[in-house]
Amino acid sequence: MSKAETPNRGRRARYRRIMFWFIAIIVFGAMALPMGSYVYTGIQQAQAQSVKDTNPRANYWRAVRDGQGGYSAVTGTSMEGEVVNTETSMLINNGGQNWRQVRNGLIANYGGWFLFLVLIAILLFFAKVGRVPVEHGLSGQKVQRWNAFERFVHWVTAISFIILAISGLSLLFGRAVLIPLMGYPGFAAYAGLAKGLHNFVGPWLFTPGVALMIILWIRHNIPNAEDIQWFTQGGGFVGKGKHPHAGRMNGGEKIWFWFICTVGVAAIVSGFFMDFPNWWSASREGMQLASVVHAITGILWIALWFGHAYLGTIGTEGSLEGMTTGRVDVNWAKQHHDRWYEEVQSTSHEQGRDATTEVRGQPA
C-alpha cells in the first residue's frame, strides 16, 4: 500500500509544482508583457525626442531674444561717442531689465528703508544712552590728537562726502521725494548740477582725501587683541563698567577704517568706472554692474557714516574738538584712548617736554 501510494503522491506533488510554475509564468507574462511594451515605447519616445528637431524658426528668434547678435551696417556710437559695432548689431540686450529691477526694486526700496532705520536706531540710541560725558570732567589740560594736515585732509574728505551723499541720494530718491517738492524743471536743474558735482567732487577731491587718510592712519588701525575686548565691552557705551582700553584708534574706529578700505574702495572704483567710461570703453554690462555696486556700497557707507558722525559730534563729549582744534582734553584721552595717551606721555617725557598744554579761560 505504502509502496503504491508513495510514487502516486510524488507525481501529484510534481503536478502541483508544474501547475504553480505555469500559473506564475502566466501571471508574470500577463502583467509584465504589457508593461514591457510601455517600457519599449518609453525608450522609443525618449530616443525620438532626443533626435527630434525643435522648431528651427522658433529657435532662431529665441536665440535673438537671448541676445544673439548679428551684423549692422550702421556703426553706432557707444555711450561716450566712440564708434562701435557690437552695440548696434545687437537686437535685444537682456541685462537692462535685470538692472532696472535691481535698481528700482531692491536698491531703491531696501536701500531707502535701510538708511531710514539706521537713522531711527541712532536716534533711539541717543534717546536711551544720551551724550557720553567725560567721566572726570574736563581737566582744561589739552593734548594734541590730530595735526593740521590730518585735519585738513579729514575735512576736505568730510565735506566732499556730504556733497556726494546728498547728490547721490538725490539721483536715486529725488524722483520720488524731490520732484513733488521742486517740480520737474526745478529738480532737473538741481539734478543736473548734482550729477556734475558728484562726478567732479568724487574723483578729484574725495578720492585723494580717502587715499591720504588710508595712508596716514593705516599704522594706527592694525587690529590687536585689545580691540576684541573693546567690542566685548561694547566700546564703553553699554554698561557702567570700566572703559575698555584703546590705542590711538579704538575698535570702532578700526571698523570704520577697514570698512572704507574695502567697501569704500569698491564704491570709489565703481564710481571711477562710471565716471570715465571713455577711458576704458566700458560696456553696457560693465556700467550696469558698476552702478549696482556703487549704489549698494554708497548706501552702506552713508549708513556707517551716520554712526561715525553721531559719535564724533553729539554722541561723545569732547570728540569733535579733536578734529576741529586738533587737541583733546586729557581726561577725554585717558577715558577713550588710554593706551594712546600713555604712549604720548612716555614719548614726550623721553624728549623732555610736556605733551599737554594748559588752556586758559576754559573750565578746569
Binding site: 528637431d53 537692462g96 535698481r103 524722483r175
Partner: protein
C-alpha cells in the same frame, strides 16, 4: 485712440538701410546717432534675416522707469517721448533699454554725455508742434501733420510698418496667411523630411 507701433517683417526686409537714411535726413539726427538701424542675422548664410530696429515705444518703458528726473512721457497714441530740457545725460535709460534706442550725441571732456536722443516715432517732443525749437531738439513732427514715421513710409518692400497697432497687425496677419504652406511653417521639416 490709436496705439502706435512699429513692426518689421523679417521675411521682407532686404537690408537697404533706406529707413536709417530717411530717419537721419527727416529728423536732422545729430552726428554719431542713428535712431534706427538694420541688423542682419546669419549674415551671408542661408536663412539670413534682416530686421530694422529703433525705439519700440514700450508700454512699460524701462527708460522711463529708471529716469532719475522722470523726463519721459507717453502720448495718447502710445508714443514714448522725452523732454531734453529735463534730461541730465546720466545714461540710465541707455543701461535699461533692451533695444539700444537711447544714444548720446556729444563727446565732451570727462565723458560727459549731453542730452539723450532717440526715435520719436516722428512725433517731435514737448515744444509746440512743428515749431523751430521742436525741430532743432527732436526733429520733424510728422504725426502732428497727419503723417506716419518716414522710415516706414520710405520702406521699399513695405517690410517696416509703422502706425496703429490694430491696422499693422491686420496687414501682417494677411501676409502670414498668404505665405501659408511655405517651408518656414512650423512642423514642415517633420512632415516633409528632405531625406
Amino acid at each position: 485712440m490709436a496705439r502706435m507701433k512699429f513692426l518689421c517683417d523679417a521675411e521682407r526686409c532686404i537690408e537697404c538701410n533706406a529707413c536709417v537714411v530717411a530717419c537721419k535726413n527727416e529728423n536732422s539726427v545729430p552726428w554719431g546717432v542713428n535712431r534706427r538701424r538694420v541688423v542682419v542675422l546669419d549674415d551671408g548664410v542661408p536663412g539670413e534675416k534682416s530686421i530694422s530696429v529703433a525705439c519700440m515705444h514700450c508700454t512699460d518703458a524701462p527708460c522711463a522707469a529708471v529716469c532719475p528726473v522722470d523726463c519721459f512721457y507717453t502720448t495718447e497714441d502710445g508714443i514714448v517721448l522725452h523732454d531734453k530740457d529735463l534730461c541730465i545725460g546720466c545714461g540710465y535709460c541707455f543701461y535699461a533699454c533692451p533695444f539700444g534706442a537711447p544714444q548720446y550725441p556729444q563727446k565732451e571732456a570727462f565723458g560727459v554725455r549731453g542730452k539723450m536722443d532717440k526715435c520719436t516715432f516722428c512725433a517731435g517732443g514737448p515744444p509746440a508742434d512743428n515749431s523751430d525749437a521742436e525741430y532743432k531738439k527732436y526733429g520733424r513732427n510728422r504725426i502732428a501733420e497727419g503723417k506716419l514715421p518716414l522710415c516706414a513710409e520710405f520702406c521699399s518692400t513695405k517690410a517696416l510698418l509703422g502706425g496703429d497697432g490694430d491696422m499693422i497687425a491686420d496687414i501682417y496677419r494677411k501676409r502670414v496667411l498668404k505665405r501659408g504652406g511655405r517651408p518656414q511653417t512650423w512642423g514642415w521639416e517633420t512632415a516633409y523630411k528632405a531625406s
